[in-house]
Amino acid sequence: MKTEISFLGVKFDNPIVLASGILGVTAASMKRCIDLGAGGVTIKSLSMEPREGHVNPTMAGYDNYFLNAVGLSNPGVKEGVKEIIKFKKMCSAPIIGSIFGGSVEEFGETAEIICESPIDILEINISCPNVKEEFGSPYAYDPKAAAAITKKVKEATSKHNIPVSTKLSPNAWNITEIAKACKEAGADAVTAVNTVSGMTIDTSFQTPLLTNKSGGVSGPALKPIAVKAVWDVYDACNMPIIATGGVTSGDDAIEMMLAGGELVGVGSAVFWRGPEVFKIIVDEMKQYMTNNNIDSLASIIGKAHTS
């Protein structure tokens, strides 16, 4: 039984990768996710300057959804690079870098720095819904902006032969247009999706729970939205996809692959099933393979489109 996936030329022992922003602040925390069964990890998104992020409460978990407005806290790309180097000393599993910025130039500068580190793939986060006041609407809503950033980042990554995946927003009504624009600008893949905008109000205090008021919804409530985004992008662009959003079980992950995901991002699931969730999901996928006589997971990618 083969769970290996070769994604953009990088070998993953299994398709389950830690999504950006969950647990992945330090080398050690990412290594722990590998030990607990993940096929690869994505580091928490990095920016040029360190950021403290929003004021707490920044996260809340409920039965079927998770809401966050962490506000892209990170120690800055230079510190982040040290964690990436350390991670690669600790293990040989693939690591996906992740960057964001306030302008096309800043994305470019940040990319230049992170490309000096041993990342296997670089994810461009243009889709965080929680920093509107600072950065305006996510670039992921605008095909031109998404393309301009992808192009700029590619200038840095191509010198190092590092493939790029642009991370899309489920809030974009024209997600396939955005994906196409990114592909034309040189994106090797897309990550679909980031969180969808949401809010929850505390009825006792009669005020939004998050200090940032609005946040991003992830977890099971996001899954059907993510499946549709992956499906649409696969259909329209025929490009590799890191399918992310609401995966908490092996069956969810299989669903994402059938929709067209080559890798499957898993984040909020650790809230419901603990950090052991990576191994649990992979085991459940293997069970599915046994039950359905599937030799290799790679064979089911996009399969739902052919039936």
């Binding site: 602040v25 722990r32 928490k44 806290s73 600790m90 505390d202 809230f271």
Partner: protein
Amino acid sequence: MKPTIVKILNIEEEAENVLTFTLDYPALNSRPGQFVMLWLPGVDMKPFSIASDDGKELKLSIFKVKKFTTALFEAKIGDKVGVTGPFGNPYSWKQGAHVLAVGGGYGSAPLAYLINEAKKDDCTFDLFIGARRKNLLLYSNKFPEEFTHIATDDGSEGHTGYVTEILEEKIKKLSSKDKKRAVVYVCGPELMEVAAAKVSQKYNIPSQISVERFMKCGFGVCGQCCIDDTGEPMCIQGPVLSGEHALSLPEFGKYHRTKAGAVEKY
């Protein structure tokens, strides 16, 4: 993980710059060593160790530091606050153990909770409390004098010097029978914790240390509190670790991470 909104029932002055807040929280079901996140809407949400939980009321002893704690110190009886938790790995003990509790700063708060619970399991106690000076001592007169031992840096009360020095003196004097059933429990400034863990190790007494890191979620999602080199989140795997495990971590006593996640040396 909806915050429970509760009323402040009482506010008492505990020491200089320390207030104990009593909250109307029935059935929290916590264990000593665990913490809650306290929410003041519009201000922040921060972690605090549980100082007492009798199934009806929850007590937190809080040092005034900056923004959040200053805002909290302005709260009045009857005001409402939000609480999530309890979170984290608690202290544990065996029936009839001899508890050597070592507290510095607000560290005495969870240890007081530990003593009150372990009493029910026929444990015996020695409580060691340290502070820079007398006015900063927390919980130094809550327990019987015969088992309360005090150290201050300036000698304004008790032993002049570190609390770990009086811990070591006491351990040396323990009968071999008491030593066999002894466990050291520590909560306080990290360098004091390192010293206490080492003293315990030196005398072959197991220890349990509360290791605190910057916390955002409190429930193992954000990764902000993960410690090197195991990557364990201290909000779940900790705060209470065995002393041996804590001492094996290259981060313990050496550095921690800020709110942004940057390494900061002690």
